[in-house]
């Protein structure tokens, strides 16, 4: 087997896709500016009936779930010590760090008083589920940044080259980086375990968030086991997210996808997804809420789509070796699971939520959609930028000239 090594990918940054994404990002940023100049009411369709929209339902709730690749791969690679998966840990870590950063930004722009975002650090309400989620996400984000630090030190140790008058500090910075690297190496296990524990905590608490809405939430989704369902689905979506992103990255940079690793990962997804599905179906059977599926309402339709396309079909696909052997099959199955979890979070926070007094139904405004799309675009742009600067994506180490061709000149 060829030896894999993480390395910055030297490529041209701007491609037609990147330019398109930049336009989307710019459009989002313009509406974001409008939100800060004219207020939340001017940009969003939020009302007293629907206080939370897609900025919470998609940007935050789904964003947290889809960043689950970070803790699932950390558990797999570092805690289970499955070394063969080390190639996927760094991209997953970067996705998680970027994802959670954008979650924090999304929370901030949705807050009525964003400048008070630090309040939960001092003003504690232990009964509040949101408080728990908020604190856990804050700590986990810090942990993610710490976990990312070794990549930074690896990139710059021996290569510190400050511009201008700062040049005299080069050796000092290098020394500090080496010190940091050494310290991190010895203590990293603390942060890795903490990251997994914190993820389990807030992924599940995110599910508890809507429990307090009580009868405002449609019975198909309102269940006391919501925290368990959220945790299970987050665990199930972590690896598909990694698979999808790995396939897209290798395609976009013209690398050979690590199909054998991805196939092994995909084989792990099926049981995880199966457990989630069992609990989900068990829940509607035990609470006898499946009766709501006999009538056609937006809720029942969305629930069916979520379950069928987000869980049942991809599960069936992953059980077939034919699918897991092909890149396209892997991509479609992973994509469906990712979309399924996205839909689930959206359903929980938006579709299932019906206020007792509703005069107008909520549909996101152009501004809300623009900001959400803009953030997704920005995340992809940042990802591309980061993998070009830092050693994140693993490529076969150049041992034989043959490898050079298979990676199309990734390393000069």
């Amino acid at each position: 087997m060829e030896h894999m090594r993480a390395t910055p990918l030297k490529r041209k940054y701007f491609t037609p896709t990147v330019i398109f994404l930049s336009a989307l990002a710019l459009n989002g940023l313009i509406f974001l500016l409008a939100r800060f100049v004219f207020g939340i009411g001017a940009v969003t369709n939020l009302t007293n009936e629907n206080p939370w929209g897609i900025w919470i339902g998609i940007d935050v709730a789904a964003g947290v779930a889809l960043a689950a690749g970070g803790f699932t791969t950390a558990a797999l690679g570092h805690i289970m010590h499955k070394d063969q998966y080390h190639a996927i840990i760094r991209p997953a870590l970067l996705t998680a760090a970027l994802g959670y950063t954008f979650v924090a930004v999304s929370v901030m722009i949705d807050l009525g008083r964003p400048y008070f975002i630090w309040h939960p650090l001092l003003m504690w309400n232990g009964n509040s589920v949101l408080f728990e989620v908020g604190i856990c996400v804050m700590i986990y984000l810090t942990v993610l940044y710490i976990e990312f630090l070794p990549i930074v030190t690896e990139r710059f140790i021996g290569r510190v080259n400050l511009p201008g008058f700062l040049k005299s500090y080069n050796s000092f910075v290098d020394k500090m980086l080496r010190l940091l690297d050494k310290g991190l190496e010895k203590t990293m296990f603390i942060f890795i375990i903490a990251g997994v524990v914190l993820s389990c905590l807030h992924q599940s608490s995110l599910g508890t968030l809507m429990v307090i809405a009580g009868p405002k939430m449609h019975p198909l989704w309102q269940t006391p086991i919501l925290p368990l369902l959220f945790l299970l689905s987050a665990v199930a979506v972590g690896l598909p997210m990694v698979i999808m992103e790995s396939l897209v990255t290798s395609k976009s940079f013209g690398l050979k996808p690590e199909t054998h690793i991805l196939r092994d990962l995909a084989n792990m997804v099926a049981p995880l997804l199966g457990i989630y599905l069992a609990f989900k179906i068990g829940d509607i059977v035990i609470r006898q809420t499946f009766v709501y599926l006999t009538e056609i309402t937006p809720e029942s339709v969305m629930f069916t789509i979520e379950l069928l396309f987000g869980a049942i079909i991809p599960l069936r696909m992953l059980l077939s070796p034919k699918v897991t052997k092909s890149e396209t099959g892997l991509f479609i199955a992973s994509f469906l699971i990712v979309i399924g979890v996205l839909l689930n979070r959206m359903n929980n926070f938006l579709i299932a939520y019906t206020p007792p007094y509703q005069f107008n139904s909520y549909f996101p405004s152009i501004g809300e959609i623009s900001v959400t799309l803009g953030f997704i675009a920005l995340e992809i742009l940042f990802f591309r930028w980061m993998v070009m600067i830092f050693p994140i994506v693993s490529v076969p180490e150049v041992v034989a000239p043959k490898a050079k061709y298979s990676i199309k000149g990734a390393i000069k």
Binding site: G41, R113, K216
Partner: protein, 302 residues
Amino acid sequence: MKEISRRNFLKFAGVSSATVLAAGDKPVKAAPKNILADNRMGALVDTTTCIGCRKCEWACKTAHDMPTPSIDTYADRMVFNKMRRPDDTALTIVNEYKNDAANQFPINVKFQCMHCDRPACVSACIVGAFTKEENGAVIWDTDKCIGCRYCMVACPFQIPAFEFSEVLKPDIKKCDFCFDRTQQGLIPACSEICPMEVITYGRRKDLIDAAHQKIKNYPDRYLNHVFGEEEVGGTSWLYLASKDFNKIGFPKLGKDPAPGVSEAIQHGIFAYFVPPIALYALLGGVMWINKNKKISDEEKEL
């Protein structure tokens, strides 16, 4: 040596996972109940006597320094053509419903924050900006609020309103039971102005007794139900009516306090930090075992 420590670890893992199971197994107690003063106050609204003059709306706005047109304009009954809700410009509103028994006398119902005994907003608020006061009022602290609007998601009566049009310092607006006035010994502005004495302000306990007495005295006039006596664990505002409460704008709610389930789950997941710490220890153990296994495998290969 290795074997012994591994056995020890397994013992430890067994103990810690048993702790987790035990913690999850017991019927987890919800958070300590809000300490409710026995002599806390309340307001009893007799919807059968309300004539829909809406003077309470005017008095409320005046007492809270909110912009309002002159009191004469409130005589206009056209507003009843549309159902309204309390919002950031009006902390209380009156709606009109059809009276099947006597068409010429429509039923008017005043709505405002119900001041729950176990308020969902108090439980939900991330920074504890909402508090249940000893006299029964649920009030909101502008210095703490970060504007997350989770209170609005949580409230079973859909009461807290947000100033969506405000850019710099949007407030959460809701009836505060005239907390400033009651602190000075005054009664709530809406109760004070009401010409029909629809709103009786007094000790909640006494009001419940009075309400049941009224029902007993006039069984034809009232439904045998005091709304707010038991709904979501009891509210400070109590209502009497002649018509099914769900048909005059009240949501169908159970007797369990709104935050009960979520607090039980939340405190179950955390239970004195035992589950998180146990999980941490368990993962640490797994990591350690796998690392050692890896090293011994490599040694064997060599």
